[in-house]
Assembly symmetry: C2
Homo-oligomer: 364 residues x 2
């Protein structure tokens, strides 16, 4: 068992759900090995030792700082979240979260069942005072220096005042960790005017305006990637569709490039012969290739890593269910930065959100 | 005034709102001139002659088939839609729609105020029997041969059974115009299982399953660009956020390419000297440039053009408010194809949708 850890001094310990995600335990184990070797991250791999050890053995000598913490049960991706969290007390998710609670780890990362992670986190860690619903955020390296989009899938049906509490937490995170003064908060909506949008967006607009936050108004889908707000808040249904639409666009670019490469490979091979075209094509390659790489870095979850579950009393990060070793590596990096930064203290210092009544929707 | 037109024989007449959109009348006029010259489209430019004629004069000799139909008023992009539609009986939108009603044009295209176009279309043309709410669709050239995403912004707050009616119209369009047998209908949602999503999506899932349509289940954001369904149905808030998120991703790729070009132009100029790198860069350029172009063609409204307003009794197309001449050109092309295809007859033949009761949302 891991020794008790104090406040982060040297290198934080990150508990990683080795059984979570579509490619577990292979990809989590591989991501942990790479992170431990390259970054010196200390990782506690939580899960069934008989599944983890053979995967670890594939990667040669075990890096120092990597250890295995046994957990006998696994929560499946499709299990009913609340029930699974309640029943499986010895799941990798439950054991990992208890490591946090018992001060044996500084942060927990899982690519497993999002709903189960949220339910178990509330159960074992509790909520940050005043925050009614924990929310899942995506941290995208766009803007100054990043854009926090939330909720991206923890709450499909929401009340307008949740959006205010979520914006408060995201703003507190940017202020304390990134030293950003009065982060700009935007509301994801379908037009710039405050009368635009559905009933939820209209009411959330009114509440955000009165919240004391640095509310810059509505932000449209096309502006998410433009860094016009530091925090963009929306319901978990819309937010989840947004990040997955981005994922789809990235996949489309990659797929088209692959098809172009296969379908036109004879053209491409002929390129060096087509002398007059070479400077132009080389220019296109020299410009487009880094541009596409840059877009990936800023908008792909494989690169920007796991998102924090804001509102639970501990550093919990949820990675994409399809996470490969690259995504796990990015997620461990993000969790380690958060553990070093004092992010949790900033959230705990948040004054309880004012209890905002939810008036009836406007007539007509 | 235009003569009365019968059923489409040779070349349909498309009424174009010359005053609608952020760049009117310049870009609509330019788009119409190019479409008339290149495609031989017959266009009725509707709007203030004193604004249209000088723009027309910029492009040399007027192409045959282009004429100006006077309309004294203009509805602004930010005007309250229903009121503006009701009061401004001589707006370019009202006059254009009346050309349809009076059989003086076969289709109407506007990049103006979407809400006003919808309100005026209901007022002047009426609804297709059985369809409670007209819906705006995006026709993306993805899949076999295209993916119809709807609603993309006409209805922010919806009832679950609207989604069924919209799916029926989109399916009828694909069956009649594209000869697609039993088009696959998907519901935009945040997971594959039928219990996923918000209350609206869960209820819509149940209704679609019982609808007799070829319902293939939930479709996630990442699948929109993969052609997994021919029709993808959602509420107008989510759909609008989706197409604008796609727009943002496209803008991001372009912006990064531009920054790479400016910031590294000295590298690029040095490329022809860096002989060993040239074949690789040329390959990258030869593969990536067409791939990015292909993605644009499939996902950018500039290329795929205006979307049909399904559910009103006439061929009405709404183009993006930011439309430039290129987008107007694409929109006129799409409207002309629709007019030639008998799309409206297919919608009129739709049996009234079964009146589906909306049960109370599930407890808990």
């Amino acid at each position: 068992m891991l020794a008790e850890v104090g406040p982060v001094r040297d290198e934080p310990v990150i508990a990683l759900d080795a059984m979570g995600g579509d490619h577990a335990p292979r990809e989590p184990v591989r991501g942990a090995v790479v992170a431990a070797r390259r970054l010196g991250v200390r990782v506690a791999l939580v899960g069934r030792p008989d599944a983890i050890e053979p995967e670890l053995a594939r990667w040669g000598e075990r890096p120092p700082g990597l250890e295995v913490v046994p957990a006998a049960e696994v929560i499946g991706m499709d299990e009913e979240p609340a029930r699974a969290a309640w029943r499986k007390r010895d799941s990798s998710i439950a054991v990992g979260l208890r490591l946090l609670k018992e001060n044996r780890a500084h942060a927990f990362v899982s690519a497993g069942n999002t709903g189960a992670v949220m339910a178990a986190a509330i159960m074992y860690l509790g909520r940050v005072r005043g925050m009614e619903r924990p929310t899942l955020a995506a941290l995208m390296p766009i803007g100054r220096p990043l854009t926090v989009l939330l909720d991206v899938g923890a709450n499909a049906d929401v009340k307008p005042h949740y959006l205010v509490q979520w914006a408060q937490m995201a703003a507190a995170y940017l202020e304390s960790v990134w030293k950003l003064e009065r982060p700009r908060v935007g509301l994801l909506n379908i037009g710039e005017e405050e009368t635009k949008g559905n009933a939820l967006a209209q009411e959330a607009h009114r509440l955000l305006k009165a919240s004391g936050l640095n509310f810059v108004g509505n932000v449209e889908g096309k502006d998410i990637t433009r860094g016009v707000a530091d925090v963009i808040v929306t319901d978990g249904f819309t937010g989840n569709v947004v990040i997955k639409t981005m994922e789809g666009m990235i996949d489309l670019v990659k797929r088209m490039a692959r098809e172009a490469l296969l379908g036109r490979s004879y053209h491409a091979l002929a390129v060096p012969l087509l002398l007059p075209a070479v400077p132009f094509l080389a220019l296109a390659g020299g410009v487009l290739a880094p541009a596409v790489r840059d877009v990936l870095r800023r908008t792909s979850w494989r690169e920007y890593g796991a998102g924090p579950l804001l509102g639970v009393d501990g550093l919990v990060f949820v990675a994409h269910g399809r996470s490969d070793a690259r995504a796990i590596y990015s997620s461990l990096r993000v969790a380690r930065e958060a553990a070093r930064s004092g992010m949790l203290d900033a959230l705990r210092r948040l004054a309880p959100a004012p209890r905002v009544g939810v008036p009836a929707p406007p007539e007509g």
